[in-house]
Amino acid sequence: MIKDQEYLKKIADICLSKSKKLGSSDANILVQSSVSENVNVRNKKLDGSERSENLGVVLTTYLGKKKSSIASSNLKESNLDELVNRCIETMKITPEDEYNSLPDKDLHFKGLKDLDLYDETHLSNEDKINYIKEAEEEAFSNDKIINTNGSGFGENKSNFLLANSNGFADGYKTSQFTAYCEVVSKSNGSMERDYEYTSKRFYSDILKPKQLGSIAADHAVKKLNPQKIKSEKISLIFDKRISKNFLSIFASAISSSAIAKGTTFLKDKLNQQVFNPEINIQDHGNIRKANGSRYFDSEGIAVVNLDLIKNGILQDYLIDTYNGKKINRKSNGRASGTTNLYFQNGSKTFEDLIKSENKILYIKETIGHGTNIINGDYSVGASGMMIENGEFSYPVSEITIAGNLNNIFKNITLADDLEFNYATNSPTMMVEGMVVGGK
């Protein structure tokens, strides 16, 4: 069972009063409790089950402008004594940093908690196993599916309390139900794997097992017998599961930490055209039941809705207290990063996009870590499908795609098929004229 707020509050109070007693001027504490249960099946048979219970604290103490942190999962009072002591001793000899402080009291979250982020539904292991077996059975009904890499179902419940010596103390429960199905297809000596994944706060919102299995199978079968294409400059369409990655890259490039240090290609771009004028990007934390929704960030600061890109122009950064001070900006509640980050729908349909040119490469998977936030260079391995005259013609693999994000961002056309399946979501995306490395 996850611990209740009362229990978490007790631990928080112990740590806060200990650190005050030992000489800290300020302190911030997070106490977390979670229980997760996962089952895995493979080839329709139970492969494993896993149950985990986690409890832990993270304490940060301040002495004026000096700071230090400890974290522990051992909440015995004797251990907490020792750790708080250690934290204080380290803090005392750590050099001052003028930007260290607790967050601005006026920005603390004080509102109503009405976003429906917790579903108390509990599935027995039996039910979890049945769900995921049904997904695999559906996948195997496709005769080119010969094996699975394993499929799983997970249920996670957690509760936390965040408190600081300025009087903030709040927390809440969240839940997450996740299922994935990863299958292997085979035909004419070619073997491919692919997957489908669903994750929602409410059990009733996840994909039905049959949908999960059939989508995974369809993905894996479509990849069979791929061809390598010649190196060329060609327009690309990014499947929704890939296009959202560009939003994550964008988010890390506008974090106040990167802006303050100057380690991002989007430094000094505020109020400038970063995307083409049709593009709008929002980060809204208050969407009911959504994966990325939260009331406040890891400093207790209320999350406000941000319109990061309006008509292609950069309007804001993602700001926390420490880095905000470095760039003379107040926190906008992004110490834990983005919330529900998404491109607004474009005006074209998916059909419009695939028919817009005679030959387009559709990217369904990228592989590798080839993004350089500092200068915007982008180079990754990829696979997907060739589109010829508006029709998907053959799978393509073992190619690379490369460009610079400054140019890529300005050449994006979006479809109108946005769905809120993850915390970060994008419609299907087309980017004109990127260089593909192949034969």
């Binding site: 015995k76 000899i93 750590t94 400059k233 592989i367 870590h369 500092i374 180079s379 690379t400 260089v435």
Partner: protein, 470 residues
Amino acid sequence: MSTLLKNTELTSERADSIVSETLNNCDDGELYIEDTKSETIVLDDNKIKSSNYTSDLGYGFRAVTGDTVAYSHSNEISEKSLKNSSENLKSTLKNNSGTYNSEIKKTNQKLYKDVDPIESKSMKSKIELLNNMNEYARSKDSSVKQVTASLLAEKKNVEIIRSGGELLSDNRPLVRINMSVMVEKNGRKETGVFGIGGRQDYDEYLKNDNWKKVCDEAFRIASTNIESKPSLAGEMKVVLGPGWPAILIHEAVGHGLEGDFNRKKTSAFHDLVGKKVASDGVTIIDDGTLDNRRGSLNIDDEGTPTERTVLIENGILKNFMQDRLNARLMNTKSTGNGRRESYKHVVMPRMRNTIMLGGSNNQEEMIKSVDKGIFAVSFGGGQVDITSGKFVFNCTEAYEIINGKIGSPIKGATLIGDGPSSLKEILMVGNDMMLDPGIGTCGKAGQGVPVGVGQPSLLINNMTVGGTQL
């Protein structure tokens, strides 16, 4: 007697009896107890940005029968909690029964000292070191605009209690010193990253002002990249430098030779044992027994002593890397590759130090033989799709080769290849085998574990290079 259970609400005797009673009718399993202390100190933007100390104590209780694994872990260490876990395992395996295999090899292997790298260097001297690294790197040139330096130390003590009360233990120190330098010149920005580390005290890595070399190397890479030009795209010959570029081996074949993927027949290598998978002269091993190396372990996380496992010998595929579960199901022995990130994670076959042994060619003749290609000296990271065999890695330092000569540095290119076929494309194996500096972390199924790699210079006939120039 367990040392880690001292000062907890669970006695060794009760732990033994719950473990034995739970695993009685299972094929395998153990109680894994882990006490980890770790410390991370980061200097960033001229300031000590954070000093974090973490202390974590928990257990993972595993029961295995047939090919089904039941796992339960918790950081609440008490008889009540362990009994709950036991009930949980039994309910998963209620329809299966097995015969416990109590056989496990013993070892006196001591590949690293039982030191505590966090305590053996004072906080004051660690902060001083970071400040020195920052000042030294910034003093190298006015183009240095940003410096991030960090120190990471860990002491992980593990105990494995098996059915019948047998207890195996290992105390593992680990340190890592990292440096990242950003230079800016004529409006261009590039970074260089370098680090060192292994299973010894910090001071072993700091002798002779070695930290200066770490800063020098990060600065050199950044300064090289600031002069780089866009890379050509397409298929070409590739010369790999020695040492760290062996993450090519790790991605291209290492993962594909892990036992689980082969038992499940999802690896492109699963039916190739005894077959030729690489050029003559290519021998690849996975060695867990090198002194003080990042990927070395006295025993793996199931208690099996590590060994030097020959994976490919003179081009022929010999062995997979095994944990106990996959070895049993494939009728072979564990190779001591059963690893986990922490007590919160299940065991899987994982690499240790994966190395291609040296050959007879020298790097100069490799470069001379290339009309048009690239010379890749360092990489950021790689990834592989086990099933299709396709892998990539990203160059962080590379040069073009034109008519047998090294030319301009080129911008961060991605290399992509096919695991099973790329090893057959190796034309020359160098005589300059080198191990990496001790910074690798391998990710698999969401679990990160420290690993090492090593290789000599290699000439590969044909790889696809990603770039923006046609």
